[in-house]
Amino acid sequence: MRRGQGVRRVGRGLVLALPFTWLILFYLVPFALVAKVSLSQSVLAQPPYRPLFDWHDPAGFISKLHQLTLDAYVGLTQDSLYLQSYVNSLLIAALSTLLTLLIAYPFALAIARSPRRWRIPLLLLAIAPFWTSFLIRVYAWILLLKDEGLINNALIALGILHEPLHIFATNTAVVIGIVYSYLPFMILPLYVALDRQDKALLEAAADLGAPPLSVFRRVTLPLSLPGVIAGCLMVFIPAVGEFVVPDLLGGSETLMIGSTLWNDFFANRDWPTASAAAIVLLVLLIGPLAVYEHHQMQSEPRR
């Protein structure tokens, strides 16, 4: 009995240790490295910052601590490029998230309300594009959106347009690309939330005099809010830092933090500034997430 409990405790410890080790190795350590670089001074060298730790002089670590500087963070505030990138990224991500939600909700609802044997095949269809390369799918959008692309050619051929729409290389194209790419991330949590809704609740609402639209507004929608929030986070957070879509579909007007970071790292070789920008982005994203988590904890049923 006692022995069994001991074994169980060790077992539970092992089960917990695995994800924690994973998080420490692949999340916390890289994060600490980036944080350290963001506090270093930029130099023209290899690596392009002044290292804190030297294998040949381990003891020098303490004496070098005073070299840490907030210069990179100060730099962020002095160049309006960063502020613009952040604001632009947040706006594009927010708009994309909203559009994704509006498109994904009917999909998720239709799948959740279809006959049981159809649900999994329909979900697979929604995820099917993931089986081809993300890069190729975004490239495909270039062919669709550019001035002499499929969409413009078709619209002109049909006589609906006389001049091609300039969508490619604009923020609009970026939003389209993000909405397209992240749609499944929205559909899945929405589907889960809608699928587990008790159908008796919908009947109860109808029984109490609610026509279908009221049933949706007063029961279906509020009960799916956890799915809405989860889906929005799963789209919004990666969309803010999105690099590939703006790089391929965006134009000169497109200023997103992902591209700015890339430029700092690889073109300007200013690693401390790029790291600082990344840390600020992280803080910007973790803030709302922490608020949401706190809210979740509050609304959890107290038992």
Partner: protein, 369 residues
């Protein structure tokens, strides 16, 4: 049909209702009239079609054939939100994101009742089900019994002309169930609203309802008052469904002086005349265990009708009652239930004792074979 005529008729009238799910005929050509103010029970085992019938009255399912009239109006095709009917769900189906008060007021908001009026009606309903003070709780903060009351209050808040109850006690434990059944029956008498309850528990149906229908395979086996159905079942299925019963094979010998003579496999019996069966008809002779008395063997006069000799072959003491299993001289087994209204006699008949069983002429029920 004018409104005056509509008022005079039954509150629910069902004509030739049929509903199939795939190859299964859930409801098979049912016709029924339920009067205003009745407490009506649909009783049957699971899968007998009672819930399908209830769901069609509520409007959740449409019948394949037949019509449903509510208050004299044809409501067969009317969607649930436009029927003057409310339902209390087996799972209660309380809205988890709303408080008790919001749940009860849900249907009133839908009626565009003003906020103060809603508050008044919700207060009224909370008093009715004795839940004052819980209006701000959420369903997950309520006990099973409280949830059930909220569901009841919510379904009654719109003052429906018919309240449908789908297995209303299924989720309650036994003690609470009996108490709640009495309360529900009293509530219905006070409100005079028509209640239609679906249940698989024959005791519950008897306690609650004034009239009931026994269902099997989508059809009604018998419709009547609880006493009618218990005392005068029309067939073996109903007799067995309503409670423990002894069934003896027999043949009608003849009728004389208001009694019918019957030769059963256990011996001769006489019952109050049942002229439905001509002399010579093979029948089942049914006896409820509580109508059979166990006597010490010596009191048995050998050839009296309605007295069979036997030996106690089983005895289960249940506190308020004792069930005896008696092996009759003919080899048939029969069960007798004795009320233990006297402590001394509760266990005075031993296993293996020679006894005779006796029943009165109105105890026997003649059923078709």
């Amino acid at each position: 049909m004018g409104p005056a005529e509509a008022d005079a008729g039954p509150i629910v009238r069902i004509e030739g209702l049929c509903k199939s799910f795939g190859a299964v005929r859930a409801v098979d050509d049912l016709s029924l009239a339920i009067e205003q103010g009745e407490f009506f029970a649909l009783l049957g085992p699971s899968g007998c079609g009672k819930t399908s019938l209830l769901r069609m009255i509520a409007g959740f399912d449409t019948p394949d054939q037949g019509r449903i009239f509510i208050g004299g109006k044809d409501m067969t095709e009317v969607p649930p939100h436009r029927r003057p009917v409310n339902m209390m769900f087996q799972s209660y189906a309380l809205f988890p994101h709303m408080t008790v008060a919001q749940n009860i007021g849900f249907g009133l908001v839908q009626q565009r009742m003003s906020k103060p009026d809603i508050a008044v009606r919700v207060g009224e309903m909370l008093r009715l089900v004795q839940l004052e003070g819980l209006e701000r709780r959420r369903p997950d903060q309520l006990s099973g019994g409280q949830k059930q009351r909220v569901a009841l209050a919510r379904a009654l808040a719109r003052r429906p002309s018919i309240l449908l109850l789908d297995e209303p006690m299924a989720a309650l434990d036994k003690n609470l169930r009996e108490e709640t059944q009495m309360e529900l029956a009293a509530l219905q008498r006070r409100l005079k609203t028509t209640f239609i309850v679906v249940t698989h528990d024959q005791r519950e149906a008897m306690v609650l309802s004034q009239r009931m229908a026994i269902m099997r395979d989508g059809r009604f086996e018998q419709i009547g008052t609880p006493a009618d159905i218990y005392e005068r079942p029309t067939n073996r299925y109903v007799a067995e469904f309503m409670g423990d019963i002894n069934l003896l094979k027999g043949r009608v010998l003849g009728h004389e002086n208001g009694t019918s003579k019957i030769a059963t496999e256990a011996g001769p019996a006489s019952v109050a005349a049942s002229r439905d069966y001509a002399a010579g008809t093979e029948i089942l002779f049914a006896l409820r265990p509580e109508r059979i008395r166990v006597n010490p063997a010596r009191s048995a006069a050998s050839n009296d009708p309605n007295v069979f000799a036997g030996r106690i072959s089983g005895r289960s003491y249940r506190g308020e009652t004792t069930l005896f299993e008696i092996e009759l001289a003919s080899g048939t087994n029969i069960r007798s239930l004795r009320q233990n209204d006297d402590q001394r006699t509760a266990n005075d008949v031993d296993l293996g004792a020679e006894v005779s069983v006796q029943f009165s002429a109105d105890a026997g029920i003649v059923l078709p074979l």
